[in-house]
Symmetry: C2
Subunit: 389 residues, 2 copies
């Protein structure tokens, strides 16, 4: 049940329930430093710049952008990406697809295998409300989806996932890919839409030349698989792959039709340090922290620990402060080493921390505070937070 | 708004909203392997055994148990711990304290500094509905809480946190601890209740003798601080510290009055491998996963990645299966290496994964499925999940 709330220009508020709106209303118009912490902030100008930058790139190449929802998990951001030119979205999980389809998005790729009767039923139900597409790498899975789609008179597009060197999911290229494509072509209510491969083992190599070489080698496996199928009479309309770290490598390969980049919209310190990527995008995401203790001149403790900041890609660091380094994150605390004892951060003071992995950090939070010129402009529920099924 | 639902003996259902109950009702009575995944499971017999084991230990020593909510974040589990003899609960965050106080628990320690006007206002509001106690290590913070408590005619008990070697929060022992205690004693509407120290740098040392020596050395600092205050006429009624890894070390020291252990109730692989701890408690927590791909005889991919399983203490492993080892966790996937190719795990098959850190893993999930003899007996909303403020 939605309620129309009369908000002025600076207080935009889109697509949230009346309950969520009434909860978040008090924050609108506050300065970001007035927010209690930990709080997840998006700098809206920076995020919008990232969307424009990526859209501009994809206006110059054959491939189109199908940005990943797993990073931001929030329908309004997907809508902004589509408004800027993206052809649809990519999801990791059915729960993410449900969130964006319920918010009106129709062209959705779930770039993973959907396995098991309960999930296949949800997939088919979504196919009644969208043009859904799913990755497959297994004949029994193709048959199960085909049977469920037939029973409900639905249609599901399928991309055959090919292992292009990451050694995660995916059939091997050549004959195994061809066999699965042919099975899809002869199965009812499913459609062979093309091939997908993820060069995930290459996307975060910081050295540009090394990343370029590794990504091209991986994508060539997918291109060869396409040629293998085409020579045997199987058309391959969609060629999908790529991530933020390879958007301008994979995106520039003429055979590729879709790129699944996600992190570019928010960015983090890890992608920020990737040569050839970091300089194109702004760091739009941060976690606002409060100093809770300064027990010694060289030690500051903040209220942002592992439950609000992921650390699998390294310990996040504060932005806009010099002379302090975060040296450890425990469950509820961050510990900062002060190298310049004139740093005047004391209990109650706030600082912003730049995540090292935006996707897993976002998944720890319930909402974003959208900030423009320092002021809270919007509060967005992270609709697919925790939707791991 | 709650609704009374008529559930038979096997379908116990306590303390949840009508909305949550209607959502979870369909799961009650299912076999755990029928649950869709990822799903967080508690083996109820094992959890109850852990509660009994810990209660039995604390019936033999001077210290009492004040179990930590940060592990399970779920009021019904706190109530079970209190019913077994715990004197109250420990919380990491105000949001956790709100969750348990709203569920009727009154004796609550927030074992961290509560800093900033918004949080202090919430603390004082809770003091109107509970006997709250909070850790402090800073004079300005004591004064701010005292002023806010005075303005609302509330009372807040305070433990002076002492740094006992972890070098996180806490004043130094001796004169700084005495000064802060004396400030509390002369400030209105706050009460000096005692000292707290956390030997967090010792709790996970796997070697029993090394852990014992390190924990005793740390706690001795707290005991010395107590004597320092008492010699100067300041009584120290409460001495609080300890964790699961030191429950039977810190808990056995006669000067200690309270132990804050949390993980013991659910356990994980890390504490399970701590000598002198692991053998006392059952591994009650697991994450149910589905095999989504078996692209090669030696490789299995499951649907449990970093968004449902924490890995800061190591990569979690499957339980009850031999010949497979989880070698990596990416955002949405777990990769298992199969050393015995006769392992017959294929897409759609399910397996249970034992977390390596129960506290941060629980915080990734919205609910527990409570399992007894393989059957879903209860579905518990993790009320303080994500309550990081």
């Amino acid at each position: 049940m939605k309620k129309v709330v009369n908000l002025d220009e600076n207080h935009k508020d889109v697509g949230r329930s009346a309950q969520e709106q009434s909860f978040t209303m008090p924050f609108i118009g506050m300065h970001k430093t007035e927010l209690d912490t930990p709080a997840l902030l998006i700098d809206l100008d920076k995020m919008e710049a990232n969307i424009r930058t990526m859209a501009a790139y994809f206006s110059t190449v054959n491939a189109q952008l199908r940005p990943h929802v797993k990073t931001h998990k929030t329908p309004i951001i997907s809508h902004k990406q589509i408004a800027a030119g993206a052809i649809g979205v990519t999801c990791a999980k059915l729960g993410e697809a449900e969130a964006v389809i319920h918010a009106g998005i129709r062209d959705v790729l779930i770039a993973n295998q959907i396995v098991g009767a309960q999930k296949i039923a949800r997939l088919i139900n979504l196919a009644k409300h969208s043009e859904i597409m799913v990755a497959v790498d297994n004949a029994q899975n193709v048959q199960a989806i085909s049977e469920a789609a037939s029973a409900k008179d639905a249609n599901v597009r399928m991309l055959v996932e090919v292992n292009i060197g990451m050694d995660r999911c995916g059939v091997e290229p050549g004959e195994p890919a061809l066999e699965l494509a042919e099975l899809i072509r002869k199965s009812p209510n499913v459609e062979f839409a093309g091939l997908m491969g993820y060069e995930g083992h290459t996307v975060a190599k910081p050295d540009k030349a090394a990343r370029n070489a590794a990504a091209r080698e991986a994508i060539q496996i997918l291109v060869d698989a396409k040629h293998y199928l085409e020579k045997r009479g199987v058309a391959v309309p969609i060629m999908s792959g790529g991530g933020t770290g390879t958007f301008n490598i994979t995106g520039s390969i003429p055979e590729m039709t879709e790129v699944q980049a996600g992190s570019y919209v928010l960015m983090d310190a890890t992608y920020g340090n990737v040569e050839g990527i970091g300089e194109h995008f702004e760091r739009a995401l941060s976690v606002l922290a409060t100093v809770v203790s300064r027990p010694a001149p060289d030690r500051i403790i903040v209220d942002t620990g592992l439950k609000v900041l992921a650390k699998e890609f390294g310990i996040p660091q504060p932005v806009g402060v010099t002379g302090v380094e975060m040296t450890g994150l425990s469950e509820e605390h961050g510990k900062l080493l002060v190298s310049d004892e004139t740093v005047s951060l004391n209990p109650g003071d706030k600082l912003e921390i730049l995540p090292t992995h935006c996707c897993t950090t976002v998944n720890l939070h319930d909402r974003y505070y959208g900030i423009r010129n320092g002021i809270v402009e919007s509060v967005w529920e992270i609709a697919a937070r925790g939707k791991a099924q």
